[in-house]
Point group: C2
Chain length 254, copies 2
Amino acid sequence: MTDQQKSVMQDRGTVRAVERALDVLLCFRAKDELGLTEISKMIGLHKSTVHRLLATLETRGFVRREQSDRYRIGWSILELTSGIYRSGDFSTVVFPEMTALRDRIGETVSLYVRSGFERIRIQAVEGIHAVRRVANIGMRFPLHIGASGKVLLAFCNEPLLDRMESAGALPNNFNKAEFERQLEDIRKRGYAVTFEEREAGAAAVAAPIMNRQNQVSAALSVSGPVDRFSEANLERFIVACVDSANLIGKVFPF
Amino acid sequence: MTDQQKSVMQDRGTVRAVERALDVLLCFRAKDELGLTEISKMIGLHKSTVHRLLATLETRGFVRREQSDRYRIGWSILELTSGIYRSGDFSTVVFPEMTALRDRIGETVSLYVRSGFERIRIQAVEGIHAVRRVANIGMRFPLHIGASGKVLLAFCNEPLLDRMESAGALPNNFNKAEFERQLEDIRKRGYAVTFEEREAGAAAVAAPIMNRQNQVSAALSVSGPVDRFSEANLERFIVACVDSANLIGKVFPF
DNA sequence: TTCGGTTGTTTCACACCATAAAACGCTGGT
DNA sequence: ACCAGCGTTTTATGGTGTGAAACAACCGAA
């Protein structure tokens, strides 16, 4: 163990073994079936260490093994998610309003929150045109790409963009001045619109959900294929999305 | 630390600190907002220990704090769930078939797997009569109560009931001989029917989903108010449920 | 205001336990 | 038969997780 590692791990007030175990769990974001050696390479730990961590995770149901040598996320994770939306009355207010918005405009409605320098899609209601059900709830995306990311950045009180820059969370050729102008525009309008930014062929409208302290707590977005985001539709989408976001922000105690 | 504790923790091949951290996480099954001292009382650890564990969990996004002193489950949990159904093609086979079954009969369709001495509802499609959306996916129930629990027990190759008995997972006044007869009956019929067993006013039909090794891998259930489980309907429910379970078992590589 | 009783937070010395290397069995491919 | 890769087990070492105690900040009661 190097001196650098030593000095880093000194006095952080955290438990190293636990951090490593959680890192093992987070490996399953990338792939939903992993072998022991595979994991040990991903996080740079010794096989035996990972083995013990996995055994520990298994006793509590956080990982499971299907046949013999392949590990998967365990069912305990599900138990914890069932309570995640219970904050206040997520299921009686937010989800119904998202569904109503989807029914009004027909496109996919998503809800994002910020976590660190990323955003997480914490809930989604599929558009009526959706051919396949993509269950990518929980997925992370960068903050600086996509309508809802920009909304979360634009209405954030702290100088988040600066912190991202100094943390190296932005690409090298990132035009910060231009981006700041975009954010200013979003703040003025009260919503964001993007075309084929995060995904080719896709467009999105996003509006901020503000809490009572007038801080942005989430972003509500409407997204779908660009060809359905015509001039006429776009106006409808914007109005509907902003309205729903305002309504949720008024009612929901984020 | 007592000698008893020492001897217990010897040679388990697991990491104590990690087990404790996971126990902290599992506290959020009972309540979705907890204070530090509250947790420390629940699992019998010192405040400072829990504090360090929570700080560690927070760095990886497994818990979050809303205002200052209240802890909640973090968003990282959501990231892990998104991949949980990806085993094989859960979303393209199992979920559509469950939805189709619901559309055929109108009642709530649930999917359970066994985890230890309990069953977990890993997916559900609400019946058309459902007034409120109950998002209790991930919820645990005993194996010996309810139609799907009995199915999981009946078609389990190992002597699970014996192990439950010796582990004290059964109530004191449990009539094991009678229960064994019920299981034998379920094995003969190929499905289970219960009336007001787990919940007052509710009835359920459940059928096993068998994998290629002819082991039960899950239980599919149809449930609703008893008054809709009349003689005539019941027959339809049973046939439809068994059919869907067979279909899923054939296609899905559990 | 001044208490007492809560919180959550920080510090610190000591014993303990997590660690990684190495050796082990096992399986599958060549 | 061989090798390469896997997961598992064992072991000595010293790093590190631990809980008591002291601390700070809050709240309601007297």
